[in-house]
């Protein structure tokens, strides 16, 4: 089946004239209508828009235009990124029916690379969550087991990849929302260095942590997508004005001989599922066989990362989400004074988790508590950055399991916020320090036969190192498995 191929294989077929982008796009739209009733990855499918765009790319190709490597390949876009004229809800009732009047920079870049955008994928409301159960519309299901979560917040993007509805997807990662969904669905995702990919048009949750990034089924596909969306953007004042690291070249190279890989002592042991740890250690053995030097590294302040994150992110969220005031766009409910309308609109428009975080953030920022909570969390952020800095003086990359467990059942943790927050324990330090991270499949855990993730972390603007190590490990593991991990997933059939 064409939809089972990698994005780069599709690209080659397009280049050789063996398939048109219209046919490729139609194949994915067909796949979506066949299986998305079960998976529920999409909030909106832009059927006509995608086909029109594909036709345009085919015409360009026929006229002999020089096209980007991803030209004509379909992609799924997380619903927190704006696309002009296309519904953008952020998984919230607050923005139901809103059609943004502008494109995010990521979308502008995808367009200039002639990538075909299939539609918008489901997520936890305003990207707050680890399971996609906080979407105001419906939960997305894990294609490996439809009774389980696909990770979050970007569960729609990860599920669309794992169910072959799209070969490429865009996610956003504030505390692990690209990497944890990748881990639990057997796909690959990268949180770029903070500032490496523009945040313009990414609906803000926590501005000092939010980062858009690429997702796909192979390391090389992710690399091509990463290069297509990366680079300095004057519309984002936190965008880094420096050349994009040689990402695709690193993914093609995949040579780890002589590299020093640091295993973080604090990110293993208690709380991690034994099968997940076993796969992690087997992956380390593979990297050692390829000539990498494996050493243990201590990052002693990582134990405080989760606590710092759940003060900083809610604080920034309480401030960012103040923009939803029922005045200029989005939901408006009730009558009376402006204040009364705001109160009733925000009460009806925000879900439980969003309200919880706004209130927590309002508390942490209020006078009398600011120093004890938000101020202290900012100091922990300094200590964690220092941990990374010290570690990267000794090693080239750091590694850990991406998430402590495989996918859990839908509903299993939805009434226990703390248990839910623990999913992000290994991914959060990266966001706090602004460095980059990748998750790729490490195998299937022996307890439940579900995929687990291997996380690689590198210093700011050293994103190419993720791809070097990721490509090496992927190649060794797929040789061992006799193909990609998704080949072992149960087949979804149209109902």
């Amino acid at each position: 089946m064409i939809v089972n191929k990698s994005a780069m294989e599709m690209s080659q077929l397009l280049n050789n004239g063996e398939i048109s982008s219209v046919d490729l796009t139609r194949a994915h739209l067909d796949r979506i209508s066949e299986v998305d009733g079960q998976v529920k990855a999409f909030l909106f499918v832009d059927h006509d828009g995608a086909l029109a765009q594909a036709e345009l790319v085919d015409a360009k190709r026929r006229s002999g235009e020089n096209l980007s490597p991803l030209a004509g390949v379909p992609l799924a876009l997380k619903d927190v990124m704006t696309q002009r004229g296309i519904p953008t809800t952020c998984g919230s009732k607050m923005l139901e029916g809103w059609r943004p009047p502008y494109d995010s920079t990521v979308v502008t870049k995808l367009r200039s690379a002639d990538v075909v955008i299939l539609g918008k994928t489901n997520c936890d409301e305003f990207a707050m969550g680890s399971s996609t159960e906080n979407s105001a519309y419906f939960p997305t299901r894990n294609p490996w087991d439809l009774t389980r979560i696909p990770g979050g917040s970007g569960g729609g993007s990860s599920a669309s990849l794992a169910s072959y509805e799209a070969p490429l997807a865009i996610g956003t990662d504030t505390g692990g929302s690209i990497r944890q969904p990748a881990a639990v669905t057997g796909t690959v995702g990268v949180k770029p260095t903070y500032g490496g990919v523009s945040r313009y048009g990414l609906v803000a949750f926590s501005s000092s942590l939010d980062q858009a990034g690429p997702c796909a089924r192979t390391v090389l596909d992710v690399a091509y997508l990463h290069e297509a969306i990366a680079g300095h953007d004057p519309l984002d004042s936190t965008s880094i004005n420096a050349p994009v690291p040689p990402i695709v070249a690193a993914a093609k190279d995949g040579n780890v001989k002589g590299m020093k890989i640091g295993v973080i002592k604090e990110l293993q042991g208690d709380g991690y599922q034994p099968g997940v740890l076993k796969l992690f250690n087997q992956s380390l053995e593979e990297l050692a066989k390829l000539g990498a030097e494996i050493v243990e590294v201590s990052c002693k302040y990582f134990d405080y990362a989760l606590a710092a994150y759940y003060l900083i992110a809610p604080s920034e969220c309480s401030s960012n989400l103040a923009r939803f005031d029922a005045m200029r766009y989005g939901l408006r409910i009730g009558e009376g004074s402006a204040e009364e309308v705001m109160n009733s609109t925000r009460s009806a428009g925000f879900g439980k988790e969003v309200k919880r975080r706004i209130i927590l953030g309002t508390y942490a920022l209020s006078s009398g508590y600011y120093d004890a909570y938000y101020g202290s969390a900012q100091k922990v952020r300094t200590l964690i950055s220092q941990d990374f800095k010290d570690a990267f003086e000794k090693v080239d990359v750091l590694v850990s399991p991406t998430a402590p467990t495989t996918a859990f059942k839908i509903g299993e943790k939805s009434n226990d916020p703390i248990a839910m927050y623990l999913n992000d324990i290994a991914t959060i330090p990266t966001n706090l320090a602004g460095v980059c991270g990748m998750s790729l499949p490490s195998g299937l855990a022996e307890e439940d036969g579900l995929p687990a993730g291997f996380q690689i972390m590198a210093g700011a603007m050293k994103d190419d190192r993720l791809y070097k190590v990721g490509a090496a490990l992927e190649s060794a593991l797929t040789k061992k498995w006799g193909g990609g991990i998704l080949g072992k997933a149960p087949k979804l059939v149209a109902k």
Partner: protein, 96 residues
């Protein structure tokens, strides 16, 4: 410990109407969460400088020149209510 009255005040500051049930529930839940996150205080000593942003940057400015922006139609396209080229909003100031 965070009381139900604390939560009611925070909800007022955050402009969110909450039912009695929501206030009760959040008060107990926030107490548990605050207990867990308060551990940041264990290591946040006075000699540690705070970090607000992962990549240090000073002010980023652009050249002060005209450039295209949203048209009034685009800017108003998502408005719950509008009149002419203006957002129509509920009354903000008192009658007087």
């Amino acid at each position: 410990m965070i009381s139900r009255e604390d939560v009611a005040n925070l909800a007022k500051l955050a402009r969110i109407n909450m039912t009695d049930g929501e206030l009760d529930h959040l008060a107990s839940e926030l107490s548990v969460i605050l207990d867990a996150v308060a551990r940041v205080q264990e290591v946040a000593n006075s000699d540690v400088p705070p970090t607000s942003h992962p990549i240090p940057m000073s002010n980023v400015f652009r050249v002060d020149e005209n450039r295209p922006s949203l048209s009034p139609e685009d800017a108003l396209s998502g408005a719950p209510a509008s009149e002419g080229q203006r957002f129509k909003v509920p009354q903000i100031l008192g009658e007087e």
